[in-house]
């Protein structure tokens, strides 16, 4: 027996268990049970293209519970006045559609800049001085018409609430928390820091994820139907493809509404397609207006609520088994999911994209900038 056979014998391991194979397939095709999910997994707060790149902190950040970006300025504080009935969701969405249609597309780069906030699932500190950290994440992406793309990220943390801040001070006001190692090479301590991390910019091609398992290139996105009926029909067909056969029309509609919202917020679709997405959303059931409101930066807009009903959400997993942070999450069913888009009808831009489960915040993304620009891709600046 030669040394090669001996190595083979030394390192021989049995084939994977069937459940391991099933779990891997589930990670590929996003079905927690082996069968297709009845409703689609809930979108994460972050633009998906960044998640597709495996930006660890981004994905982790997006999968956890969220607090407000500006403590004390909750979104529910505005828009509950008598004016709410004056502008129906339909009116608002059709007005935004008209604006979207004439949105400028001059510029070399399509650009998106977002900021998300999530609470860390674990508590930090010692003894009586325990606190929750709020993780902040600035993400930017650029795409050129030829398909070249860049993305940049910046992360940092801070105590989540004034009470957390007090506990953090009592605990000695540390500025770094390390847990295990990163998956990078070489492995580095996996740390959260109060100082904004080094900004970085990655040049990469990335496909844009329209729905579970459907990724389109920049060019394919340009060819989506610009007619509301055709766009909706295309999304219905796509939903039928990735949903369980038993899914009824209501479930299909929930998925289509969510994907329309994603097109509006995160994807570089042309003005005609964006207008069509607004018009299609205006005709969807379970879409209501909460009237004039402000986002957490105080920007005025109109809140449009999409009742998404049931769905799968990412939940933090057993940290002991975690290697890369972004693998720590398992899907869990949730009901009573509501997505709120705060829309600026004057520009058709979406200012904020918030998801709540029941009454608690789940994810929260502010859109700090979007549209076409000549400004070259650069490392994200702090807000």
């Amino acid at each position: 027996m030669d040394e090669m056979s001996m190595v083979r014998r030394l390192l021989a391991e049995p084939p994977p268990d069937p459940h391991v194979v099933a779990q891997g397939r589930e990670r590929l095709f996003g079905s927690p049970t082996g069968a297709a999910p009845v409703t689609r997994p809930l979108r994460r707060a972050a633009p998906r293209s960044a998640l597709a790149l495996g930006v660890t902190s981004a994905a982790a950040a997006a999968a956890m519970a969220v607090t407000t970006l500006v403590p004390g300025v909750g979104t529910s504080s505005g828009g509950q006045g008598p004016a709410t009935t004056e502008r129906s969701a339909r009116t608002v969405l059709l007005a935004a559609a008209a604006r979207a249609e004439s949105a400028p597309t001059t510029g070399t780069y399509w650009h998106l800049r977002t900021m998300s906030a999530t609470n860390s699932p674990q508590r930090f500190g010692h003894g009586g001085n325990r606190y929750t950290l709020e993780r902040l994440w600035v993400h930017e992406e650029w795409a050129m018409r030829n398909g070249q793309a860049w993305s940049g990220d910046r992360n940092w943390v801070r105590p989540a609430t004034p009470a957390d801040q007090a506990a953090w001070r009592r605990d000695g006001a540390p500025n770094t928390w390390c847990m295990g190692e990163t998956d990078t090479q070489p492995p580095k301590p996996n740390c959260l820091r109060t100082a904004p991390g080094t900004a970085f910019l990655t040049k990469d091609y990335f496909p844009f994820e329209v729905s579970e398992g459907l990724q389109l290139t920049f060019r394919q996105l340009r060819r989506l139907p610009a007619n509301p009926g055709a766009l909706r029909a295309w999304l219905v067909a796509d939903a039928r493809r990735h949903l369980d056969r038993s899914a009824g029309a209501a479930v299909v509609d929930q998925n289509v509404a969510a994907e329309l919202a994603d097109l509006l917020v995160y994807l570089p679709v042309p003005p005609g397609v964006r207008a069509a997405a607004y018009r299609a959303l205006a005709d969807m059931p379970h879409v209501t207006s909460i009237g004039p409101t402000r986002d957490e930066l105080g920007r005025a807009g109109v809140g449009i609520e999409i009742a998404e009903g049931r769905g799968w959400i990412a939940v933090p997993g057993d940290p002991v088994r975690c290697r890369g942070e972004y693998r720590c999450h398992r899907a869990a069913p949730a009901s009573n999911i509501t997505r709120t888009l705060i829309i600026d009808p004057g520009t058709s831009h979406v200012l904020a994209d918030e998801t709540t489960i029941g009454k608690s915040a789940y994810s929260d993304t502010l859109i700090l900038g979007t549209g076409w620009t000549n400004e070259k891709p650069h490392k994200p600046a702090l807000p």
Partner: protein, 216 residues
């Protein structure tokens, strides 16, 4: 040293490679189709997940392999539109991704070999007589320890080549494609790695060097 041809390492490799290469064309076409029809990628997953898992498990243990095998296919799935069916081969493409992922866990890999070196694992078959069996078992374990210790000491480029061939029986050409290195480099890295292992096993065979050079 003369360049060595892509000779199979074990006798039964030829047939295995042949069987795979026939279906490799189909697999490449499936990957191409999966760009527009993502469900098609399940075919690729089902076909290769077992061997990719065993490759990673061999290097990093079963726990990590669960994760990294799945990750390999996730990465491949995301990059499937960049796979060129005219030029590419699916199997080396997947092993290339898996090897990159394994490379991110180098310290864990070395820890595993050191643990195997401490624990021992038989690497030889038993023989007939009882007395021989006892002696043989001890020797097999001892060889396993020496081999594991030597694996920990290999250069990582050499180890990648050695283990792609030893665990997964990739041909030299497949290894070259998987690692993106020249064909000739595969042979020289493999020879170097094998020599280190033989030295660790205490194999003194004056014909070995001749074999390496005359085989080319």
């Amino acid at each position: 040293m003369t360049r060595r041809t892509a000779g199979p390492v074990g006798g039964r490799l030829d047939d295995a490679v042949l069987a795979r290469s026939v279906n490799e064309t189909d697999a490449a076409a499936v990957v191409a189709r999966s760009v527009c029809d993502p469900d098609q990628f399940a075919v690729i997953y089902d076909r290769y997940v077992g061997e990719v898992y065993r490759y990673v498990a061999g290097r990093l243990g079963r726990d990590v392999a669960e994760d990294l095998a799945a990750e390999t296919f996730l990465i491949a799935f995301r990059k499937r539109d960049r796979f060129d069916p005219a030029l590419g081969r699916v199997r080396p493409w997947l092993y290339g991704i898996a090897t990159t992922l394994v490379g991110q866990h180098r310290r864990a890999e070395i820890r595993r070999y050191r643990a195997l070196a401490r624990a021992g694992r038989r690497v030889l078959d038993s023989v007939e007589s009882h007395e021989d069996r006892v002696a043989d078992a001890m020797m097999a374990e001892q060889l396993g320890r020496q081999l594991a210790a030597a694996l920990a000491d290999l250069g990582h480029g050499d180890r990648d080549v050695l283990l792609l061939v030893a665990i997964s029986e990739l041909s030299h050409q497949e290894v070259a494609l998987a690692l993106g290195i020249p064909y000739g480099t595969v042979g020289s890295r493999l020879n170097r790695a094998r020599r280190v292992l033989r030295e660790a096993l205490g194999v003194v065979d004056p014909t070995l060097d001749d074999e390496e050079t005359s085989n080319g």
